[in-house]
Symmetry: C4
Subunit: 264 residues, 4 copies
């Protein structure tokens, strides 16, 4: 019954990008965004065929190289790759449709941000940084269910608007940006911001929150001082070095060999 797919061509540049996307998945796992075989990242296909999405059935820490991604078109049809396709593909397709600036996106279930997604109160930035934090994080109120239809994906992408991170109510988060590293760096910062906000609120202590002017000033200062550092490349390279050390030493959630593709 099944059809042998003619495998889509992968240029050297794309192959290198998928290797980077695989490392991005493993950094996410290392930094607490893993949730068993759930969560995924996606990269817009440079030839306009759709997007490359982490295959189903493996954890974020088990994504090794191009073989761990499937090419999915904008209607959700798998048109390349050997593994399974996650049902939540419309998260990515609808962001890519509405946001031409976005090249990479992610959906994960980090502990504190998933807990915070249940809160009706806007996330406050208790400890602003000069780089890689989401400036505004809306909440999609639509459903706690999986986002498996174009309609839901579209609704979520509209709620995201021009931002780079969004809470899915009682579910998790979606992050995105113009480079492969952006969804990861923003997601890691978002998780930390949620942990910080939950901690200071739990303490019952009075606290101050920087205003919009102060947040904008800090971003501007960072960008003026050093756009390479504050743009994330320096931080990203630090994560890649940390990942390499973790892999050399061994980490239970991170694989160094591909997981064989099963029957699906």
């Amino acid at each position: 019954m099944s059809t042998v797919l003619k495998e889509p061509a992968i240029s050297d540049a794309l192959r290198a990008d998928l290797l980077e996307l695989a490392r991005a998945c493993r950094v996410f796992e290392l930094e607490g965004h893993g949730d068993r075989s759930f969560g995924h990242m996606a990269l817009r296909d440079p030839e306009g065929r759709g997007f490359w999405m982490k295959r189903a059935g493996i954890g974020l820490g088990e994504v090794i190289d191009a073989r761990d991604f499937v090419l999915v078109d904008f209607d959700g049809k798998k048109i390349g790759g050997a593994g399974g396709r996650h049902g939540e593909w419309p998260i990515h397709s609808e962001i890519f449709r509405l946001r031409p600036d976005v090249m990479a996106s992610a959906h994960t279930h980090p502990f504190y941000a998933s807990v915070y997604s249940a809160s009706e109160e806007p996330l406050q930035n208790i400890v602003p940084r000069s780089t890689n934090q989401p400036h505004t994080t809306p909440r999609w109120e639509g459903s706690a269910d999986l986002i498996c239809t174009v309609e839901q994906g579209r609704s979520m992408a509209e709620a995201l608007g021009p931002h780079h991170a969004i809470f899915l109510r009682n579910h998790g988060v979606v992050t995105c940006g113009p480079t492969i590293r952006d969804p990861v760096l923003i997601g890691i910062s978002l998780e930390k911001m949620c942990h910080e906000a939950l901690t200071i609120n739990a303490s019952g202590l009075r606290f101050s929150v920087p205003g919009e002017d102060e947040l904008a000033e800090k971003s501007a200062t960072g960008a003026r001082l050093d756009p390479v550092i504050t743009g994330g490349r320096t931080v990203w390279e630090w994560y890649l070095r940390k990942l390499a050390r973790a892999e050399a030493q061994g980490h239970p959630a991170i694989a160094t060999q591909p997981v064989p593709i099963g029957r699906r």
Copy 2:
């Protein structure tokens, strides 16, 4: 004074199941359900002789293979195996008696769920998932004591009803299901749900809780999308790979060699 037991026959299929049950115990330890030598899992004997229960005196992370289980009949008599029998055998016997659908069960003391067992307020599902979460988790109010009598075990099993997880008030949890992996997957999810609920409540932030309809919808979506994944097999294989990596790297609470059976 002691009698040499005629060892019960163990078929190849049963031996393989006990090896899986041993792995299940070690996954539980890896995921935070271990409490020194306390806690146990049990498997219904396929020949109706009773059930195979982790032997006493070792931790969940030290269960290696069939030699680490004892066969106990429905009156609590050890009829096979060389180690000690935990006093809380009626937890398992009474569930197996009342629930023909249950093949495997577990009793553990995970941190957050044990804390939550002290609460009189029903557990709310803050971050519902599409797989392996207990849908309803009743609380057995009978006693904080060990469950060492058939009467107590029966009362607990009746409070469990048709569900797959139950809090033991001021004590811990019991989980069960139709396969060996179910008590582990459900137990891990229950611990996380309790951690989530304690965290959001501690924050004092207003939060939303999905209604019954929404929970049912999410389960249905998962099952429709991919019954293999949402049925737990995919997730289980992820845990087994994680366990294998942890064992290759070394983990203080997880043994790779059997602990010799002592004088008891």
Copy 3:
């Protein structure tokens, strides 16, 4: 100016006990009771010369064998051993004086119990267990200062009364018992009880606390079922196996070679 001490005789039995006491210190470190070079354990000298106390200047995880203890008489004079003597020796001398049943004692700064020591509210036993928990944990209100005088040590030992654990207000804990393992097992349980109590209180959820009758019943059940297990030997052997695995794998806070004795 310094005098060469005639080293006290150490019998084979005592040497074995000091080896066990060293392992007890390392288990304490492994289980979160370490605080840099602070904290100590002591063993009553079987020949009545005083007590053997962990030497100053090393962490609990760096205590390897008899060379890491000094013999201190009941007036605080070091009468054997090559290392420094902690200033808080009166904690041990005064317990040994008032409590002939006590053979071993410990003073540590575990995180949650040290935080709890600041609370004026009695510790509630949220998740009672059948073994090794302190039944009543008084609080010494005398001072947050180091206990460096016989007067303070005596006052603390009187507040301890017949119990096996005591909070030192805004400071830490002291535990003791009839065997070398008791202060460690009780200390580990006390830290967990404090973590549990702080967590459930922080949540703001209503919760139930077992009454005195129920606590007594649980202890009695454990003792009736299996006095070896509930008496702590089984659990202790589990910790020793865990320690051996941690040492084989390497742990930053645990040494496997003695730390050379410095100028003091």
Copy 4:
């Protein structure tokens, strides 16, 4: 366009100090003060040329030896060393200017202290110790922004006054002292004090706080008993042994080889 710097002379004593400063950075990372490539330490130049500051672009755990520092003069000009200069150099220059007793300083973003920096309530010392705790920790209210101007640095240093630690509102902490180890030991203690204060406040339990007299008494007792121990040298050596073990075993955030200096 760039000028080849004539490298400043480094005496053997200074080289040894920079090796110690590098170890200090790695201890800080090991103890939870790392935040990717952010945070830095500085040492006053013994020849009055300015101060040696951790180079930009690497994490605290990746500082290996003298090559990982740059010499910066009091106007912020890099006058030696091959790496980038952090923009927050005025934190160090202005402390060194106002505080002749200070030889070493640090700026970090530890989790609990950064959260606490948002609080308007003075930090209470719940569990005073006899060594290396900041006695008073003021809060600089000036801005949550990076401290990149002499004016801001001066304002912060004035708020620090004669103390050894200061909160930067909604940002992080600065610590300093007369030796290389002081900013690290004080920073680690400050982070723990904040964790303790947040925990006891979150619990909602009534608690007691030692008064000023009691805090002074504890410091005096420690100093009288053993100025070497309470002065921090003993504790520091414990951290160095722990670091050596962590490095032998491997730690993802700690490098054992220098990170090559990039284009900046």
